[in-house]
C-alpha cells in the first residue's frame, strides 16, 4: 500500500465524521471517487459511528413526528436517477445572458477563499491559551464561516492588493458582505473603506465599512440590493471622510468574480 496514502486515510475518517475543513473536503472529494481503500475506510468509520450512536440515552421523538412524516411522504414524489431528466429540471433558473453567471454557493466554491484564509494563519489558535479564549476564537471563525456558507445564491470575488489576497466580496440577493483579512485598520474617525462595483460603465459605490482590527472579520456593507450580477469585478478604496465619493480615489484592492 502506498505510503503517501496515509493522509487520505485520515481524511476518509474525517469525511465520514463530517468533520473536514472545506479545503480538506474539497481535496478528498477529488480523490475519493474510485478509491477502494478510502471507500473501505469510510465504511469502517460509518460502522464505528453507528456503534457510538448506541452509547446515548435512549429517547423517542414525539408521536406528532410520525404523522408529520407520513404527510410529507404522501406529498412527495420519488426521484428516479436513471430515468429521463425529472420534471423539476425545468424549474432550475436559467442563467441570464451576458451577465456574470450566478450559481448556488456550494462548499466547493468557497473552498478557495477559505484556503486562502487558512493559509494566512489566522485560524491557528495559540496553543496553551485559555479554553474560554479558544471558544471565543472559534465562535468568531464560525461567524465568518456561517457568513460564507449561508445557503443561497451568491457571487464571490477575492480581491488582491499587490498580488496578495486581502479581502473577499460575497454578494447575495439581499446583501453585500466583505470578508476582510488583509486590509489595514483604518481611522474610522477620518476615513472609510468603500466597496465599488466595477463593470462596463463607471464604478458604482455600493457601501462603506471600517476595518477595526487586523484579525479576519465580516462586514455587511449593504443590504436590500438587487442586480448584483451586474458586476464582473469588485474593488475597495480608502476614502477621506465617511461618505463614498463619486469615483474612487485610492483603490487598495480589486478582483474578478470567480463564481
Amino acid at each position: 500500500m502506498s505510503a503517501d496514502h496515509g493522509a487520505f486515510d485520515e481524511l476518509a475518517v474525517g469525511w465520514a465524521l463530517h468533520a473536514l475543513e472545506p479545503e480538506d473536503e474539497a481535496a478528498f472529494a477529488r480523490h475519493f471517487p474510485g478509491c477502494a481503500r478510502c471507500a473501505e475506510t469510510v465504511a469502517e468509520t460509518t460502522e464505528v459511528m453507528a456503534a457510538m450512536a448506541t452509547d446515548l440515552p435512549q429517547a423517542a421523538p414525539s408521536e406528532g413526528l410520525r404523522s408529520r412524516l407520513q404527510a410529507a411522504v404522501a406529498g412527495t414524489e420519488q426521484v428516479h436517477r436513471s430515468a429521463a431528466p425529472p420534471a423539476q429540471a425545468a424549474a432550475v433558473p436559467v442563467p441570464r445572458l451576458s451577465r456574470v453567471p450566478r450559481r448556488a454557493l456550494a462548499v466547493a466554491l468557497v473552498a478557495a477563499a477559505v484556503a486562502t484564509i487558512a493559509g494566512l494563519g489566522i485560524w491557528n489558535v495559540v496553543l496553551g491559551a485559555e479554553r474560554r479564549e479558544l471558544a471565543a476564537t472559534i465562535a468568531e471563525q464560525r461567524e465568518v464561516m456561517d457568513a460564507l456558507m449561508t445557503p443561497g445564491r451568491a457571487t464571490i470575488a477575492p480581491l488582491d492588493h499587490d498580488g496578495r489576497q486581502v479581502a473577499t466580496v460575497v454578494a447575495r440577493d439581499d446583501e453585500l458582505q466583505v470578508l476582510a483579512y488583509g486590509l489595514a485598520v483604518n481611522d474610522a474617525g477620518s476615513t472609510t473603506y468603500v466597496v465599488w462595483g466595477l463593470g462596463e460603465s463607471t464604478p458604482q459605490a455600493l457601501g462603506t465599512f471600517d476595518v477595526e482590527r487586523p484579525q479576519m472579520s465580516v462586514r455587511t456593507v449593504r443590504s436590500g440590493l438587487t442586480g448584483l450580477d451586474d458586476f464582473a469585478q469588485y474593488g475597495i478604496s480608502i476614502e477621506p471622510g465617511h461618505e463614498a465619493p463619486s469615483a474612487p480615489t485610492e483603490v487598495v484592492a480589486t478582483g474578478q468574480v470567480t463564481s
Binding site: H18, T41, A50, A53, D146
Partner: protein, 218 residues
C-alpha cells in the same frame, strides 16, 4: 460517570440488528411503497432521535432533522449504496450529517451548551422506556463504552468531540490545544482501535498498521 441502571432487567438482547429485514424495507421503498417508510421510521426513530438530540441539544430541531432524513430516504432511496455497509449505519450516518449541518447553522451558543450538557445527558432520565429495547441498548452501549475506554484519552476526546459534538477537525484542534495534523492522526487511530475492539477484523483495510499510533495519555 455512572449510567443510570434500570431495575433488574437481565433478559437477553431481543432486538438484534436485522440487516436482511432492513434491506427488504429499503427494497420496498425503492419500489415506491410508502408504508415501508413507516417501518423504517419505526425501526430507527429511537436511535436516530437519540443521536440528533445529542448533537443538537434541542428536541424540536432533532425532530426536524429526523423528518428531513426519512423524507430524503423516501425521495431518493438510491442514495443508499448496498455495497457500502448496513442500512442501519448508513441511516445513522445520514442523521449525523444532517444534525451536524443543523448545529452549524445554529448560533455557537447552542454548541457550548451541548458541551456543558454532555455529562448531564448521560444521567438524564430516559424520555421513553421500553424494557427490552433498553436492555438491548444497554448491552450494546456497554460494549461501546468498554471499547471507548480502551482508547487513549486524547483519541477518545477527538472522536467524541467530532461525533457527538459535531466539531470539525480544526475546531477539535483548537478546543484541545492540539495541532490539526495530530487530531487527524488521533481520529484515524482511534477509529481503527474502536473497530478492532468492537469486533471488526484487526487491521482492516490497512494491514500492518498498529492499532495505536500514539502514546497512551493519562
Amino acid at each position: 460517570m455512572m449510567r443510570v441502571t434500570m431495575g433488574s432487567v437481565s433478559s437477553p438482547a431481543r432486538r438484534p440488528d436485522d440487516p436482511s429485514r432492513d434491506a427488504e424495507i429499503m427494497r420496498r421503498i425503492r419500489e415506491g411503497d410508502r408504508s415501508a417508510v413507516d417501518e423504517l421510521y419505526e425501526r430507527f426513530r429511537r436511535p436516530a432521535f437519540a443521536l440528533a438530540r445529542r448533537i443538537l441539544a434541542d428536541d424540536a430541531l432533532a425532530e426536524d432533522v429526523l423528518q428531513e432524513v426519512f423524507l430524503s430516504v423516501w425521495r431518493d432511496p438510491a442514495a443508499f449504496d448496498r455495497g457500502r455497509g448496513s442500512v442501519a449505519s448508513w441511516l445513522l450516518a445520514v442523521v449525523h450529517h444532517k444534525a451536524v449541518d443543523a448545529v452549524r447553522r445554529e448560533e455557537s451558543q447552542r454548541r457550548r451548551q451541548v458541551m456543558a450538557e454532555d455529562e448531564l445527558a448521560l444521567d438524564a432520565p430516559m424520555a421513553t422506556r421500553d424494557v427490552e429495547e433498553e436492555a438491548w441498548s444497554r448491552v450494546v452501549a456497554d460494549q461501546v463504552r468498554t471499547a471507548l475506554g480502551v482508547l487513549s484519552a486524547s483519541q477518545r476526546e477527538a472522536l467524541t468531540l467530532a461525533y457527538y459534538g459535531g466539531y470539525t477537525q480544526r475546531e477539535v484542534a483548537a478546543l484541545t490545544g492540539t495541532p490539526l495534523g495530530t487530531v487527524k492522526t488521533r481520529m484515524l487511530a482511534g477509529m481503527r482501535r474502536l473497530r478492532q475492539e468492537l469486533g471488526g477484523p484487526p487491521g482492516g483495510a490497512a494491514p500492518g498498521d498498529t492499532p495505536s499510533l500514539e502514546e497512551p495519555q493519562a
